[in-house]
Structures are given as structure tokens and as C-alpha cells.
Symmetry: C2
Subunit: 219 residues, 2 copies
Amino acid sequence: MSLVRAHNISISLDGYATGEGQSLETPFGHAGMRLMEWAFPTATFQALGVHRERVEVDPASAPDDVFAARSWEGIGVEIMGANKFGPPGWQDDADWTGWWGEEPPFRTPTFVLTHQPRESIEKKGGTVFHFRDAPIQDVLVEVKEAAAGQDVRLGGGPSSIRDFLAAGLVDHLHVAVVPIILGRGVRLWKGLEALEDGYDVESTTTPSGVTHVTFDRKA
Amino acid sequence: MSLVRAHNISISLDGYATGEGQSLETPFGHAGMRLMEWAFPTATFQALGVHRERVEVDPASAPDDVFAARSWEGIGVEIMGANKFGPPGWQDDADWTGWWGEEPPFRTPTFVLTHQPRESIEKKGGTVFHFRDAPIQDVLVEVKEAAAGQDVRLGGGPSSIRDFLAAGLVDHLHVAVVPIILGRGVRLWKGLEALEDGYDVESTTTPSGVTHVTFDRKA
């Protein structure tokens, strides 16, 4: 059975998964790239080659890479919220095809949740974007079929992760807690009181200072 | 010079340092004792003997005890907010003398911030409660003098910790992040955007699943 998994969801100590003021130039708003800095020097993120800050792979990032790499193991399809596909208003730009250039890292069917769906977009390397405007439970039926026996990656952003968690649709969640106080933005945990009751929870701090918290749905 | 230190401030993953509905029976509101469960089995908390849930000292709690114990090292005085002295409305009860029985664990002068000060209360074991209604900066002058060269423990609750942090008065902060989602209550980090800029921050996860995050003011 396909599991629904979310990985590398980075949040601040005060629970914000992205800052305020998301735009084309600032995909994470006033947070800048601070929530993802732990991930950039990992072998996994360097191999993806999609982020804007190229750095050398740091051998000290190996413990972080254990978590970063899992996001790409056994995944047959990605499903993402509208805010992960583009800045606010991308739906009005017929030429917008996502943040990731000609060869996105997904390399699978990738379903984008939006109230203004458009024609599917095929990219190099196997990524095909599909656009759906339907309840997440319904989209998930189609998405799991597209996963062809592998798992579904729930890609974000935080609002869509929250919707899936609230609906009880998530089997595995990996959150990276970055020890900064963002103060404003989009809260990951809003409306999810006692989420831990349904999950086995584990925490691991790495030398980068990030704490990786994993939620695995109880059997 | 006396440092101002706050220790063992436990928060949920969503940043709440206490739950909603604080009362005499529920000092942490709907959070119950969940935020402090990591601390109960430590040698330090068992030696204090003040909490309601007596348990055996768990040898596996030794890494947590490293943090728990620091709260009691080199402290000459405690300062606490009104909510740490009693449930809402304690000021109207002339017989209320705090949550901690006849021999409180503080064993030093202990200053309570309240808009309704009363006569000082002397308890067994060296704890003397003083009540002050003045700006925290002013109270801190008197408190540091009372510390007689030792450090000041900022005891909580979260609202008073937040006030001291916002005023730049805290030298050391130890927070224990408990991997639960409380959903509502008092937020520790509210109004403290970019607090980390003034501090060196370190994180450590222990076998209990708690992540200890320390903030040390930059030199």
C-alpha cells in the first residue's frame, strides 16, 4: 500500500514553516533561506542542484543527509500545494511552469493542487505536472494510483501539509526544527492539537544544530 | 556580575509553555503535566520533592538531569511572575503562600512580580517570598543586590520570561522542547522575532525525546 510521506519540512522554534511576504524573489518570505540552510550542504541537496545557493558538500552534514536523502527513496509521485508551485498569482501567468527550471528534481508525475487548473506540463527528466481542483481525499485516490505501488511524497508548502495532517492522511512526517525565532509567517501546527497521539515520535539533533523530528503513524 | 538565567522552561513543538485554562488544580492548564514529564524522573527533580507525580529516579534520565541540575547551581535569588506563585486570583486569597508547601525548594530570597503586593512570607529552609509591583528593570536592581554575587534565576512563567527576553535582560535561557502539539495556551516566543541574533544557540536531544536548546548571550 502506498504511504503518504512528507520530508524535510523545516520550521522555526516558534513553529513557522515559511516567513511572511512570499514572492517570486523570496519563496520563503522574510525567512529568506534560513530554514533550509541545514540542507544545502548535504550530498542530497547538492545532487539535486535546484536551490539558489550552491555550496560544497560538507562532510559534517552527513547526519542531516540521512534525513534529507529519505525524501527521494521509494517515491512514485509527488503532490504539492499551489504555493510550492509558484509565488502568489502564478495562476494568472500562462507561461509559469514552476520554480525548478527545465529539468525539475521530481522525475515522477507531480500533482499540483490549485483552484485554477491548467493543461499538464511535461518537463525533461520525467517530471510531468498535473493540476487538480478537487478535495484532497479525491486527488489522493488518483495520486496513489499514479504512484504505481510506490509511496506518495507530500511536498508542501505548509498549508497543504497541515490540510493533509488534519484530515488524517499522512503516514510519515519529517520536520526539521531550526533554532531561530521567525515571529511571523505560516504556522505548520495550527489546528493540529494532540497530533502526536496518532504517531510514534522520535527526535534527533545533528551537529548543524537542527533537530529532526519524525512522526510515524501508529500501526 | 550576576547573570540572569532561566532554566527548564518546557515548551511544546508549537511553542506553548503552558496550556489553556490554568487553575489551582491544573497549574499548566490543559497541558496537564506533559511538558514536565521529562523532568520528573531526574535525580534533581526527585531531590526537590515538590511535584505531584512521585516516580523513581530513572538512570536513563541522566542526560536530562545535566540540564535540570544547572538550574540550581550558583543561584542567589529567584524572581518569578505572578502566575508561577499561584493560580489566577491568588492575590485575593490572604492565606495563599505559593504552590510549594511549607518548605519550598528555592531556599533563597524569591521575588514575586505582582500588581497586588503583600507582606513578605518566610518559609522553612531559607525561602523568603517578597512581592514587588514595579518595572522589571527596577526590580532587577534590587534582586541582583539580593543575589550577593551569585546569579539570578528567572523562574517563569512564560509571560514573565518573555517580558525579560524582550527587554534584553536574560543572559542564559534553557528551553526543553517536548514533541507534543498543545494547540493553545501561552506562547513563549511571541514578540521575540530574531532573538537568536543576540545569542549562541545549542541543541541537544536526549533519550527521553526532549530537545534541550540553550541560548547564551553573545560576549
